[in-house]
């Protein structure tokens, strides 16, 4: 019972890390660019495929592959900003959602054609290494997912809080027009935001790809959870998204372990809908009054 419990906690932390890494980019892109990016989890999926290519086919060490996959997807994120977000920036919110949903369908089906719809295995040098104590064994890969996530979150926190770019990002989030008047290059900031967001999603894909399988549908499976995380954390709220990711990850894996795996998705959405009814701005968001 105790072992089972710890096992599920570990699973929950892995799941929470994935959600956190994807949700961070999504919530930043919403907060800073004002774009609801329905295609964000496709960056996670593509990141995993890039990781497979680098680590399995080119036989690079896993950590080097991880960094390179993040760089490749950062470039992809910039391209997405130029080709998709910039034209959509002034569109009504619903058109943004429909537009990026179209891009999501496009990317998934393109991945099906290029990589085949079948799931791909992603073995790494950490997959078969176990760490065990007190009868509990954890693969090194799972442990690494959690540790790398913490490092990346710390890094992001440093960038946002202590660098000039981070200051400019926070300024854009608070008031885009005022930031522009202060001489901040909005286009540059949005490029950087998209690059960071895409790199974090790619990190998630490459980290958990070895634990689950890599397939073109993995993004679709994640997107509704990730949106739930972003909403629970309060749209645009970075620390909120991190807490919400781990809460949902743990709730989901504990439900799967102790109640029924059929209902793990139902639990996520029940939490989401309950929170939305009681506290519509999310668990960690402040309710905003829209000014005209």
């Amino acid at each position: 019972m105790f072992q089972e419990f710890v096992q599920q906690i570990v699973n929950g932390l892995v799941l929470g890390s994935t959600y956190a890494l994807i949700a961070l980019g999504l919530t930043m892109i919403y907060g800073i660019l004002g774009i609801v990016n329905w295609a964000h989890s496709e960056l996670y999926m593509l990141g995993a495929f890039v990781g497979v290519f680098l680590v399995v086919h080119l036989k690079l060490p896993f950590l080097l592959g991880l960094v390179l996959a993040m760089l490749v997807m950062a470039l992809f994120g910039m391209a997405m900003d130029l080709l998709v977000f910039r034209p959509l920036r002034s569109a009504p919110e619903m058109n943004m959602i429909i537009g990026t949903l179209g891009i999501s369908i496009f990317l998934v089906q393109a991945a099906v054609i290029v990589f085949s719809p079948n799931p791909v295995r992603f073995p790494t040098e950490f997959s078969d290494a176990y760490l065990s104590f007190m009868g509990i064994s954890i693969t090194l890969q799972r442990l690494m997912v959690f540790c790398v996530t913490l490092v990346l979150i710390a890094l992001l926190n440093y960038i946002i809080k202590y660098t000039t770019v981070g200051k400019a990002m926070r300024a854009c989030e608070q008031n885009r027009d005022a930031a522009k008047l202060m001489g901040i290059d909005i286009n540059r900031i949005s490029l950087i935001t998209c690059a960071i967001g895409a790199a974090l999603a790619a990190a998630a894909g490459t980290l958990v790809g070895p634990i689950f399988l890599v397939s073109p549908q993995m993004g679709l499976a994640a997107i509704s959870k990730v949106f739930a995380v972003v909403i629970l954390g309060g749209m645009g709220n970075v620390p909120g998204a991190i807490w919400a990711a781990f809460i949902l990850g743990l709730a989901e894996s504990l439900t799967a372990g102790f109640i029924s795996s059929y209902y793990k998705d139902v639990v996520t959405f029940c939490i989401l809908i309950t929170v939305l009814i009681i506290k519509p701005a999310g668990l960690f968001g402040r309710s905003q009054i829209e000014k005209v």
């Binding site: 429909i98 179209g102 089906q109 509704s224």
Partner: protein
């Protein structure tokens, strides 16, 4: 203006005549089947259009309401031996009521909050169909749903066994729905909905109850999808959870967007266009979706009112050109 109205009336009359004559034109039965599917998709796209196109709230739960209508009416017919003519309205009613129940808490939410709630709800409904095996028979689905009962008109008895008969049944329903839909959209309610879509704060200030109208649109749209579900069950005679997925909701969305949101002709054009392509291009299934995704992005970016909006602009330009000459 009068000339424009005449042109419009002419197009409508030709379209109705074509729709009525279509099964008699000697096409293969397969094309009649595509015709029926097109009619069903038109009804679904019209249902979504009321919520998204007019009220400005994107719902990804339309396939779930479609499924609720289909399951409720099919179960009433199979287990309680009710007539289709009683079960179908109840299916629609059930879908509408569920939508109102979901809408009460969620329609106060805007943009992504509402989309994700409807997406979650759609997924929950599908899981219920799949896992509540004692009632829905789970993944096996419900076979042997009876066709709508024959109606006796005194001199002739109408049956609804064959494809052509079902085609006419659904076409009749569609025409009735279109008349009601047109009146709804051009009434006080339709104006309120468009006002909410364009600026909900201003609308609220004008004293219009935003939440009430949004829930109304959501409920009516869902009831329409539920009715379509009952018609679908009566036509295909077999339903399973596979039909009522998020993928189907997205199909409906693509039809509405490409045809033209916020218009009546848009969902009709989009549904016929996409259904035809869906059925005839099965060989290119993979490439088809790549193209649809890209098309959806480009259409929403460059022609947000879809094919219908483009046709309207074109005809206005032609007329303006005539006037100048």
């Amino acid at each position: 203006m009068k000339q424009w109205m005449n042109l419009k009336t002419l197009v409508i009359i030709v379209a109705i005549l074509f729709a009525v004559a279509f099964p008699q034109m000697g096409f293969k039965m397969y094309y009649v089947h595509i015709g029926v599917l097109s009619l069903l998709h038109i009804l679904l796209a019209l249902g979504l259009n009321l919520v998204a196109g007019y009220a400005g709230q994107l719902s990804l739960a339309q396939a779930a309401f479609f499924g609720i209508g289909a399951y409720v009416s099919a179960l009433l017919m199979l287990n309680l031996k009710w007539s289709f003519w009683l079960a179908a309205p109840l299916g629609a009613l059930a879908a509408g009521l569920v939508a109102v129940g979901i809408g009460l808490p969620t329609l106060r939410l805007k943009g992504p909050y509402f989309v994700i709630s409807t997406m979650g709800f759609g997924e929950i409904v599908r899981l219920v169909f799949l896992n509540w095996e004692s009632v829905t028979r789970g993944p096996n689905g419900l076979p042997g749903i009876p066709a709508p009962d024959p109606i006796s008109l005194g001199f002739v008895t109408l049956t609804f066994e064959s494809r052509v008969e079902n085609y006419y049944l659904i076409l009749t329903v569609l025409l009735v729905v279109l008349v009601l839909y047109y009146n709804l959209v051009h009434s006080r309610i339709g104006r309120a909905l468009r006002a909410i879509r364009n600026d909900y704060i201003a609308t609220q200030v004008m004293g219009i109850h935003v939440a009430f109208y949004r829930i109304l649109a959501f409920g009516v749209g869902a009831a329409l999808s539920g009715l379509t579900g009952a018609l679908y069950a009566g036509y295909i005679r077999f339903i399973s959870p596979d039909t009522f997925t998020i993928g189907e909701s997205i199909n409906i969305l693509i039809m509405m967007v490409i045809g033209g949101m916020g218009t009546i002709s848009g969902p009709i054009i989009g549904a016929i266009f996409i259904t035809y392509l869906l059925e005839t291009m099965r060989v290119f299934a993979e490439y088809r979706l790549v193209i649809y995704g890209l098309l959806m992005f480009l259409v929403i970016l460059y022609m947000p009112h879809g094919i219908a909006g483009m046709l309207k602009k074109l005809s206005l330009r032609v007329r303006a050109g005539k006037k100048e000459a």
